[in-house]
Symmetry: D2
Subunit: 150 residues, 4 copies
């Protein structure tokens, strides 16, 4: 995991507090010789997990049983990634609700210095012990607000 302070992020990711970085794997390409659409959601997920880690969401989940569940997610593909390349995936929170948060993801190609894809998702807090929705805790709200610089 890297953050803007720790490493040189693409200027296209100035507004993103968390940046996940990875190489494109050859095996992520499909028969059209582009990175398969499914893989972008794995990139989003990996970036999201870094966000969750940084805000101690997963730690809170272990303690309280309340953790994130993905409600919905979408992706707009801008140009097809190919191997070899290296990507930076920025993630930031757009809004917080009583029981949910909206996240934005942006994938930037290092080779092309362009946005390859963008997408938004909604994560809902879920009480896995009692099988019902849960509130977003004050601790998490604070951690997110601080990370976002709100």
């Amino acid at each position: 995991m890297i953050t803007r302070k720790e490493r040189q992020a693409s200027p296209l990711l100035d507004d993103y507090p968390i940046i996940y970085e990875t190489d494109v794997a050859w095996g992520e390409m499909d028969a059209f010789q582009h990175v398969n659409n499914v893989v972008y959601f794995r990139y989003f997920e990996s970036a999201r997990l870094k966000y969750f880690e940084r805000t101690s969401m997963l730690q809170e989940m272990e303690e309280t049983g309340v953790g994130p569940i993905l409600h919905s997610i979408g992706c707009r593909f801008r140009f097809p990634l190919t191997y070899p390349d290296r990507i930076q995936v920025g993630v930031r929170v757009l809004t917080l609700g009583e029981d949910r948060l909206t996240l934005h993801h942006r994938v930037v190609s290092e080779r092309h210095q362009r946005i390859a894809a963008e997408g938004e998702g909604i994560v809902v807090m879920y009480d896995y012990r009692n099988n019902r929705k849960a509130r977003l805790s004050l601790t998490l709200r604070s951690a997110i607000a601080e990370l976002e610089g709100w």
Copy 2:
């Protein structure tokens, strides 16, 4: 590939001319012991490919170099699939534009007889030989309209 005429489809898929069916694989579950979100997009893709096959889109691509490229896609997760289960994935076209079509996907769990997920995507026709957008051919428009019963 099955169609409504060939096999018993879920009543939840009455409006879907193409239904792709598959078993949930154990290895598609993640550490939360649910089918991972990324996998739903693979289900969508497999269903979409069946639609393309049925309307000869891939055959046309081989002949003319004009084929589909995914512009954007989203998924709303309704309840988490788990192994073992078997799913039916319905796909239908909602709208046709000059160079694009909008598709709707619905995933139904056989075990729960409920909708597990739904999603929409936009596919744009692309001239792979000349690297530019292309029009949706009359042949494809007709094949889609016929399949949809418009």
Copy 3:
């Protein structure tokens, strides 16, 4: 899941008591336009899970905490699968040891009526509650011997 008695299996799978069947997904092909090597291990896994189900191994795991862990696995690729195709994956047990079993997997292409791949793996019984190897129970030995017709 199907067994030889329930459905017509390929004659190439006469010696396999459990046969897992699935369609090849378009998205399983890589940039060489063949099913990617990694995917065969997912096919093996899905077939293996069916074997485990049929012999109540996973049920025993829930009750006792003793379940299978993959020790090693290999695959010999005979010819490259492509979309569209449908495969049958046979799985059978070759040997039983004190704490382990050796499995053989065979993938047969419906379109080509040929063996696409074969592989062997070793599964070790593991006590997940006490974090150590465990013995293969008499119940499982009996279930396997019966299924194999030993």
Copy 4:
């Protein structure tokens, strides 16, 4: 891609001229909460591709139509990887034959400083234009021997 000269490799990878490095992704874990067995073969593949790149095998493939095809591969799992972790995957050539090479892969966990998995594979040279096996070129033999320090 990194090589021993460019970056600090694990001492467990002293004999490996090519080292591929990546983060373990959360979504690579399965319901047993370990990295799924299938994923190790993707790690192997990514490392192998780096080796191919470094020895210009893929470039030669574009020029001559002769490229690698995977004949067989195996993996011995030593301990289960979990998220979060970072791995180094070493790859080296063990033997060269008329039309083939044997590769060894080793996966080292950064968090545990231990070998997580090892595996060997055979790659055969294939003439994709004429659909038949091909010889390993002198150029490739030299590039491999030089890289291995033979």
